[in-house]
Amino acid sequence: MKKRFKYLLLEIASPFIAILFAVLIGALVMLVIDKNPVEVYRTMFLFSFKRLDSVAIILFGMTPLIFSGLAVAIGFKAGLFNIGIEGQYLIGTFLAALAGFALKGLPTFIHLPLVILMGMLGGMLWAWLPIYLKVKRGVHEVISTIMLNYVSFSLIHYLIADVFMDKQQGLAPGVGNPIIRLPKIAATAVMPKMHSFLSNFGINLPQHVYLNWFLVLALLMAVGYYFLVWRTPFGYELRAVGHNPAGAETAGIKPGAVFFKAFLLSGAIAGLTGLSDLLSYFGYMDLDFPRGYGFTGIAVALIGKNGPLGIVLAAFLFAFLNRGAEGVQAFVGVPMETIVILQGVMILSIVVFSSVMGRYIRQQEKKEAALGSAAGKPGVTVGAQGGVK
């Protein structure tokens, strides 16, 4: 029992060691451009956590990352790599925006859920083709989803600029140009902020913070993800297929069917990624709608090791890094790109460390098993990258 505990500790420690390693590399990069790393990191922390509104901004920033992280993770669990979150959430956001401005006169309790469902539907729709191509035609989902990301960028551009652009933007005559964007969503589709709820607990957030109920939805989704993957028969099939498709097939599970369900589910969750920004912050979709949540989601899932708690913490980490990046850019003149480098190094070091650690643990367990099989079975080893292959 003691030994098992030690291994668990090692597995939990490995991401932290990896983050530390990435922080050191980041420090080197800062030294190259003549900045004091201690000063930079200190500014990052102070800027991010000293004020309540800044913490709330980080929580707002982590909301989309939880969704995209969960979407990637559920794919990983089935042995699928969904790099298409990026396109899936753009399509989802578009459909949600469409339902948000086109439908009028609905009460909020119908309109808002409907808009959210449209977002999930859009993500699912865009996830359908790659998984169909994989299961039926053997096309690797990594290539097809990347191609569909590019297709979605052009498609969204077309839909916003050429088809649905809002031509009636209230501009003073002769002043400025209209933004290339969709019409604003109806008030009944707006996701309320958490301000009035939080003020019950004496937490008063200023108006420039957009923390909204999607955060709660994201956290609930993480809990739901846990139950689905670890507590239901479907979750069992999912993990079995992810671990060893051939083995699962022998056990009577159809990998193709599981792939389909898992990938569509991944797309549906991905479809929620852009909604916090759409329904609570911008209120419309334009050509500059935030991109890149999908790619950060991959990092979030990897660092969170596809576990619900890990994903939430990793989303927090990345939201903090983004927030901190703004701080260091403004106050110590370190370009935000330093933080992107930091993120890239972090992913690499995390996968290396967890792979090395996982192998070490497996070896130790093998040794133990060889040393006269003790009372308890060693149990199923959780491969460090079990979900990824």
Partner: protein, 304 residues
């Protein structure tokens, strides 16, 4: 607009895809999936601009190759030595390359998204053939890199099929355990495969920056690294096949420029052509394709 001009433009468009696809052949034949090609191309295109801006085009090529090889080295260390999932490593590399290029661009050019104009090589005309009117667009004003890229195709075929190195490279991609048993050291060969792909992806990026565009622009690779992977698959993991597929993709891209001039179809749909074509091609051919048997699987010596 006549046919030979369209073909000439198709050839120019296909070069970065061809170079990267050739790189992918080496890497995949050794058993390592290299989805980091895109990142290596980004790195190559940026450092080519740096080298060419300060010391001329040849330096640009060298800078690009060195920088992209460094990225390839990271990929090899992570995925071969540490046996991390190759696709995960490649994706991380792409994120890293994007951030690093922006960062370095700010540091060296004071702006994140582009470099100043850089001069390319002096372009060549092929003597005699350039007298034939029909061939003129095809054989005049050629970048030396284009010539090099096409020479690399038969050369790569020879290396992979006819040399001891090629035989060993293929053997560790097909059955590393058997190769190991015969005394072939798997890891150095896989390193070689990945590093060669880095060199070629760097060259591809350099071509884009200094020969095709005359500057570095952020996002100028536009997924060509991924398309190159698809071209390599379509070309059935062989240099000549990769060349055929790259020409097809290059043709699609150059065609898309011509259609824009027409203007009947919204240009956003024209821009989708290379990507949709990639999907169609993969969906249509993959059934009969035969990837290296051990592709994508990290090799672990037993008893380690």
């Amino acid at each position: 607009m006549d046919l030979s001009e369209l073909l000439a433009s198709a050839i120019r468009m296909s070069i970065p895809i061809l170079l990267a696809a050739l790189g992918a052949v080496y890497s995949e034949r050794s058993g390592v999936v290299n989805i980091g090609l895109e990142g290596m191309m980004i790195t190559g295109s940026f450092w080519a601009a740096v080298g060419a801006y300060h010391y001329g085009p040849l330096a640009g090529i060298l800078f690009a190759i060195m920088a992209a090889s460094l990225m390839a080295l990271i990929h090899a260390v992570v995925s071969v030595t540490f046996r991390v999932d190759q696709i995960v490593s490649g994706v991380a590399l792409n994120i890293l390359a994007y951030g690093a290029a922006r960062f370095a661009s700010i540091a060296l050019f004071q702006r994140a998204t582009m470099s100043p104009h850089v001069d390319g090589f002096k372009h060549w005309n092929i003597p005699l053939l350039d007298q034939v009117a029909f061939l003129k667009p095809l054989v005049t004003n050629l970048s030396p890199v284009i010539v090099l890229a096409f020479l690399l195709v038969p050369f790569s075929h020879w290396v992979i099929q006819r040399t001891v190195f090629g035989l060993r490279l293929r053997s560790v991609g097909e059955n590393p355990l058997a190769a190991d048993t015969l005394g072939i050291n798997v890891y150095p060969l896989r390193y070689a495969g990945v590093l060669i792909s880095g060199v070629l992806a760097g060259l591809a990026g350099a071509y884009l920056a200094i020969e095709h565009t005359g500057m570095y622009v952020e996002g100028m690779t536009q997924g060509k690294g991924y398309i190159a992977l698809a071209a390599m698959i379509f070309g059935n993991w062989s240099p000549f096949g990769a060349m055929g597929a790259s020409l097809l993709f290059g043709f699609a891209e150059s065609l898309s420029f011509r259609v824009v001039e027409g203007g009947a179809i919204p240009y956003q749909f024209i821009k989708m052509i290379p990507y949709v074509l990639t999907l169609v091609v993969l969906a249509g051919v993959l059934r009969k394709a035969t990837p290296p048997a051990a592709g994508g699987i990290p090799y672990e010596r037993s008893g380690e």
